[in-house]
Symmetry: C2
């Protein structure tokens, strides 16, 4: 089964981290067939780390992971830090499959989401 | 006419700021009736500032502004800094109307946008 890993930046404010966790819980309730769960991971300042989340998914039996960088623009975090942390974690799982999708700010439907405030 | 003001954090990386500007241009092409345009504003590190964007909209004839905080979680920027900058700018425009909508990460359809990567 596949697992979606939402990678957020992480904040010193616990409420911000909780907000992302609550969003992940909502996403999990609506997962399409073929997906077994959603994990949240934080690049910095909060846990679980990317490595901990990836380990957790594979240990729980996931065969394939989809990593969504939950960032609005393609800065260094998206271009370098997230892929680096993912690659580091994957050293332990050479037989497993993982895919990093484009960051949330670049998804086609972001335009639609913004436009929803004009309704 | 109404104008949508998308307030992003702003980055030292010009490419990140350009990414938000390009997104705003896409949004502008699909505005519903009643909206005359989209302006981008940056809280810090880039220009135009919130005040400059608000002044620009009213000088261009906007009657009403909708401010969308383009932030993923409700940290200090969303809770204090953006409203503070907006209030400061509005001192100059006592007869005009402005509304700050919830930040992008809290919009209902964010769940749907995240789920789109699972298709």
């Amino acid at each position: 089964m596949k697992c979606l890993v939402i990678v957020a930046h992480g904040s010193r404010r616990q409420a911000s981290n909780e907000e992302v966790k609550m969003l992940a819980a909502k996403v999990e309730k609506n997962l399409p067939e073929g997906f077994s769960g959603v994990e949240i991971a934080f690049l910095e300042l909060a846990s679980p780390s990317i490595e901990e989340a990836i380990d957790g998914c594979y240990k729980a039996g996931a065969s394939e992971l989809l990593v969504l960088p939950y960032f609005l623009s393609a800065g260094t975090h998206v271009a370098k830090d997230v892929p680096h942390e993912v690659a580091k974690a994957m050293d332990k799982w050479p037989d497993k499959s993982i895919d990093i999708v484009p960051h949330i700010g670049s998804l086609d439907s972001m335009t639609k989401l913004i436009l929803s405030v004009c309704d």
